[in-house]
Amino acid sequence: MSPMKLCVPGERLCSTEDCIPGTGTYLRHGYIFASLAGYVLRKNEGEELPVISVVRETEAQLLPDVGAIVTCKVTSINPRFAKVHILYVGSTPLKDRFRGTIRKEDVRATEKDKVETYKSFRPGDIVLAKVISLGDVQSNYLLTTAENELGVVVAHSEAGVQMVPISWCEMQCPRTHAKEFRKVARVQPEYLQA
């Protein structure tokens, strides 16, 4: 492997006629510049032009953005919404704490008006959700779990044991066999390993 090209912020990488700007870059006067210190990567993604991006070993400073899948921990619940801390964006852990809100109407896609937040989440649950808006001045990131793949992935029963999902809306404690309601995410393979 030839040594990869390195760059620092402000370096001109190429013209927009040669590449499409990817992450870690920005456009100015028809040229693509690096906005990060890292390795320059050109990748063909089936498009006419390769995508040029700058990557660091530690992922770029991701902030939760609209459409991103995030992993969060539920911190509190009330009848209208659940408050969470966002721990991961995609598979990148966040170093600092960001708060988010899952409103009642965003818990699931169907029968929105019958949702009860208490039967969907409990504090301490690990939830997979998607960012729908950055929120306004008063509220934080707005998240949704209204997709099959989204919802609770790890939850502990009242006995303190990690529960196993038994349907899309129930989980069971392996010790007491008590069932508890949750908005359960369809299990994804990578989460089984954890």
């Binding site: 992993t71 921990k73 721990l87 991961y88 852990p93 600092d96 690990i126 790890v154 990578e190 989460y191 390993q193 954890a194």
Partner: protein
Amino acid sequence: MAAGFKTAEPLEYHRSFLKENCRPDGRELGEFRATTLNIGSINTADGSALVKIGNTTVICGIKAELAAPTVDAPESGYIVPNVDLPPLCSSRFRPGPPGEKAQAASQFVADVIESSDVIQKKDLCIEKGKLCWVLYCDIMCLDYDGNLLDACIIALLAALKNAQLPEVTINKETDLAEVDFQKKNRLKINRHPTASSFSVFDDSVIIVDPTAEEEGLSTALMTVVTDEEDRLCMLHKPGGSSLSGEKLQDCINRAVMRNREVSKLIDKVMESVKAKK
């Protein structure tokens, strides 16, 4: 998702290591992190030292000023230690006046100076009742990864050993002080205290030199200060779970050993600094 386990369930993560008698960074339970020392790097200070214990970095700078001694103790000078934890060293500290942790550390350092007699305050007197030295020992943490106190004491001791004060005489005619920067004198170090910190996990497992994360998860913290003649100068255990006498003795024994290691380190670095000059 091993990383996920670490952030989501940090305590469980640590326990799983301690069960195997080791720690997440690969150390044994009784092992200190690599300790390095750099002496005299700050030219604007009268004495300075930079200490690194693992990631934890602390710098101590000594500035000497002249003042009148107090009426109560006309023959002694002042030593004023302050520990600062600027927001630079960790995201847990905010800008503004020192928080509890910094205040506690300052007080701890002051207590160590007092109880160990590292410098005899009467050595700082220039003219009885008239003029004496004030040693401002400002300690700043540059990287906070646990075990602040050990680092502070090493930095303080090394900076004191490095310090040189100009000669001051009082002109008999004018009754004013005269300073001669050409003649500089070292301080007389009376005792060599060092601190060793321990943290207690789940009320039972004792580890030395905890990192910031270990400090946060442990149930009790303890710092033992001993001097070069194995005398116990101070024992600092702010609350937390209780500890048996036996365990305490183990800790003290470990602290005595640590004192030897640190003294050796300071001497070695002092030698190399002298050799350079």
